[in-house]
């Protein structure tokens, strides 16, 4: 990463690829108890992004009985009796479970990584933003509302063409600049590329409630 880019808190798309590889290696070694990040190639096989999917979050929210029954009122249809035998156990999940998919995608116009995420329940039904907010730990809700640099928007995923939530990148280069300038050692040795994503995720993760294991941060 040229010092010019570094000074601005941004990185080139090639450097993003380098940073991503380093990040995956680091994460999968240090955080083997966490699910691994993987690198996914877009269909054109040219660009790629980091992906962490099916992250399970047991929610403390109440199970809503009206959920997934949009036609409940109209259910006058009499279903034929279906055979169920004694050897079948039907279990209802006592705790409501939310799943999260996280993608880290490079943004060409802002020249920074962007965190895209979406949440869904065990039926696959996507969660609304206010439900996601309830899942966020208190410190990230505070971070989101206080900081003028972080807010969550819903936009079309660049590769999957469906709406995903993302942490808007317009403030990223600003706080990445601060992060790197704050550490003289980093600025001098210039190994910043490999550590870019860890540094970036330490801020972004804080906002969306994804805790970065301390071991990864030690290298910063």
């Amino acid at each position: 990463m040229g010092t010019k880019e570094e000074a601005q808190g941004t990185l080139s798309s090639t450097d993003f690829g380098v940073a991503a590889s380093a990040f995956i290696l680091n994460w999968n070694t240090v955080c083997s108890s966490f699910p691994p990040w993987t690198w996914v190639l877009s269909h054109h096989q040219v660009e790629g992004y980091l992906s962490l999917e099916n992250v399970l979050l047991s929610s403390t929210q109440e199970e809503h009985s009206e959920l997934s029954f949009p036609e409940a009122g109209k259910h006058s249809h009499q279903e034929d009796p279906i055979d169920v035998d004694d050897a079948t156990l039907v279990h209802t999940n006592p705790c409501k479970v939310h799943y999260y998919d996280l993608h880290i995608i490079y943004c060409n116009s802002y020249r920074v990584p962007v965190l895209y995420f979406r949440a869904y329940d065990s039926d696959g039904e996507p969660l609304e933003f206010d439900e996601i907010e309830k899942d966020l730990p208190a410190y990230s809700k505070k971070a989101l509302s206080d900081s003028k640099w972080t807010f969550i928007t819903q936009e079309e995923h660049p590769y999957l063409n469906r709406p995903w939530y993302k942490l808007h990148p317009c403030g990223t280069s600003e706080w990445m600049k601060l992060l790197f300038h704050a550490d003289d050692a980093l600025a001098k040795t210039g190994v910043a590329i490999e550590l870019y994503l860890v540094a970036w995720l330490s801020v972004v993760g804080h906002v969306v409630g994804l805790r970065i294991p301390f071991e990864m941060m030690k290298q910063l």
């Binding site: 997934s68 050897a87 065990s122 003028k148 079309e156």
Partner: protein, 657 residues
């Protein structure tokens, strides 16, 4: 002796990723149409990896055949990996909700169960054991409402009488420490090899030296040795400590048919953090009694080994304990109109978050705007209003789209000019809807009554009717834009707006100059004695007359430099937004640009001028303030009073003097 309880299996649970529905919708719209023949699909599952949550059988976008090779009759099982064991399935999608409910679920389940039964008997299930977990999905995709009704079935051959459970305990309690270590290692190896990671049924052989090996079930013969412990292992999606998962049902059927075993020791393989977890995994022993009843019926003594005798099957997925289908609505992420709305809202919100926290988006989206004139100014003003989030727009124009219009009037295209030309008001509304489907646009084809223009006697009633209509239109909107191309056509609207104290914005074009201004408050609008700002006519001393007669063509249709209309229109809309955000609204004083007036710095949108006059020849612009005139022909109180619902007065002004 152990209790005579039966094995109770935990039902498989389904999970459909929205990507599956997206892909299926696209397939249906682009390729299948009304064809409702069954589609081979692939499901994916993995062993349980969480002590409190079961794993699901998941459908993803990749579960469907790609749009290019629907011709293949077998599902191209997409590459599995350790987290995705591919399982074959079939999708029956109907074209109506009625046919969805009318599907014969019993016979569909039976047909899939038969496939499993056949695979067991022919030996295919030994070679490719994933077929034991074959599944069925019925659905109705409502592509108008973007809702998907669906129901899974996981066919399981029913053992009759059911298998009894002799023992069930945690695997760590069954194996010795040495054995456990070896079993874990062997399983991890199986799970890490790309050749076997997605093979969900296997054998675990533990020799007398506590050395365990994991083998393919087709190698069953090689495991027959007296000192060995033999367990039938399978990836168990279930997390429960007292119940094995669903895949065991058909596994037991296979074991009984192929190898005629009565006592089966099984391993419910579960993981934690990517490694075998013998504390979560279960080891149990089941007793299978050959169904003599059937044998007695068929009389050939084979019982279950008789291929022709298909056992009963169960497996329709329960929905929170009820026997009903599931339904998911994906309108928010699939309906293009909703996507357009949320994208537009996002844009405005971004503006508010990043630059203008006091932006009042609700005021903008609830404001009703009336645009008199759908020409160069009207088209641009309409577009700018939509960009600001205004949704309710009414356009009034009695003209038709002419061939020269599309170049300068940004809502029209060549098609609107054909066959004599569409009415502008109508064409504009259609165009706005194409740009943003959620706009609430209305077109009114009507001429604006103008003073001084001769009215033939047979048209009198129509003209009076138009006056009434115009009055009602002004009344029912919050802001009025005067965007017509003659001075006198602005007169009656100005008067009506002053009478009802509506926000009024005028834009007028010369050849290379423009005027954009906001009218002051109406004369009866407040009890203050303070001076109102003027309207368009306040600085005139002459009554508006017919300005178009006896003029040459280029003076009748205002010829202007093309850049003027977009500039003036944009300023007109920005002026409206300024008024909306000013605490005094229509009563706000006129401010001048570049003034040291401290009041203007407080407003986040900047100064709020009264009049803006611009000149393209100078690339310059200046702001002016004009007070209202007591002898204004349009907005003075004397005139308005005369107007108060006196039709004959209106008549006298409109008919030739």
């Amino acid at each position: 002796m152990a209790s005579e309880s039966i094995v109770v299996f935990a039902q498989f649970q389904s999970a459909v990723d929205e990507g599956f529905w997206h892909r299926f919708s696209s397939l249906k719209l682009n390729k299948l149409g009304i064809d409702d023949s069954p589609i081979p699909i692939t499901g994916f599952y993995a062993p349980c990896s969480h002590p409190q949550v079961s794993n699901h059988l998941t459908l993803l976008a990749e579960s469907l055949p790609s749009e290019s090779n629907e011709q293949s009759s077998t599902a191209a099982t997409s590459g599995g990996n350790r987290n995705r064991c591919p399982v074959p399935g079939i999708l029956y999608n109907t074209n109506t909700i009625e046919s969805f409910h009318a599907l014969d679920k019993k016979s569909l389940l039976k047909a899939e169960a038969k496939k499993i039964w056949d695979d067991i008997h022919t030996g295919k299930a030994v070679e490719d054991s994933a077929v034991l977990s074959r599944f069925l999905l019925i659905s109705f995709a409502d592509l108008k409402k973007w809702t998907f009704h669906y129901w899974f079935a996981f066919p399981a051959l029913v053992l009759d009488p059911p298998a009894t459970l002799v023992d069930l305990r945690r695997a760590s309690q069954y194996f010795s420490l040495e054995e456990a270590k070896s079993v874990s290692a062997a399983c991890n190896e199986w799970r890490n090899s790309s050749l076997t990671a997605d093979v969900p049924f296997f054998l675990v052989c533990v020799d007398p030296n506590s050395l365990a090996t994991v083998k393919h079930i087709k190698d069953w013969e090689t495991c027959q040795s007296d000192g060995n412990k033999l367990l039938f292992g399978f990836y168990d999606p279930c997390h429960l400590p007292n119940n094995p998962g669903w895949p065991l049902r058909n596994f037991l059927a296979l074991i009984s048919v192929r190898w005629n075993l009565k006592s089966v020791r099984f391993l419910c393989y579960r993981e934690n953090r990517g490694f075998a977890d013998l504390g979560l995994s279960l080891v149990g022993e089941a007793l299978i009694t050959v169904p003599q009843g059937r044998a007695a019926k068929t009389g050939n003594g084979l019982g279950w080994r008789d291929h022709q005798c298909l056992p009963n099957a169960v497996g329709w997925e329960q929905n929170k304990g009820r026997q009903v289908s599931r339904c998911i609505s994906l309108a928010k992420s699939m309906d293009p109109t909703r996507l357009a709305i949320s994208a537009a809202d996002l844009n405005l919100k971004l503006m508010r978050w990043r630059a203008l926290p006091s932006l009042n988006l609700n005021a903008l989206s609830s404001m009703k705007c009336l645009l008199l004139g759908a020409g160069t100014l009207g088209c641009q003003v309409a577009r700018m209003l939509m960009a600001w989030g205004v949704r309710k727009i009414t356009l009034v124009d009695n003209g038709r789209v002419a061939m020269s219009n599309p170049l300068r009037q940004s809502l029209y295209t060549l098609d609107d000019c054909l066959n004599g030309g569409e009415y502008k008001a109508t064409a504009a509304v259609k165009s706005l809807g194409r740009i943003f489907p959620a706009v609430d646009a209305e077109g009114v084809v009507m001429a604006i009554p103008m003073p001084g223009h001769p009215v033939p006697s047979q048209e009198e009633d129509n003209v009076l009717e138009d006056c009434r209509r115009l009055h009602d239109l002004v009344d029912s909107h919050d802001a009025v834009f005067l965007l017509t191309d003659t001075r006198e056509s602005r007169w009656l609207p100005t008067l009506l707006c002053a009478n009802t104290n509506k926000i009024t914005i005028t834009a007028a074009l010369g050849f290379d100059s423009f005027l954009v201004m906001r009218h002051g408050a109406g004369p009866f609008s407040s009890n203050d004695e303070r001076q109102r700002l003027g309207c368009y006519f306040c600085s005139d001393v002459v009554a508006p007359i017919d300005s178009t007669a006896n003029r040459t063509l280029d003076q009748q249709c205002t010829v202007t430099r093309p850049g003027l209309a977009p500039i003036a229109s944009a300023l007109a809309v920005e002026l409206l937004v300024g008024i909306l955000h000013h605490p005094q609204g229509i009563f706000a004083d006129g401010e001048l640009a570049n003034s040291s007036n401290s009041g203007s710095c407080e407003q986040p949108l900047g100064v709020l001028p009264h009049q803006i006059r611009g000149s393209l020849s100078q690339f310059s612009q200046m702001t002016l303030v004009g007070q209202s005139s007591n002898s204004c022909t349009a907005c003075s109180s004397t005139n308005i009073r005369k107007e108060e619902w006196n039709l004959s007065s209106k008549q006298s002004i409109i008919l030739p003097i």
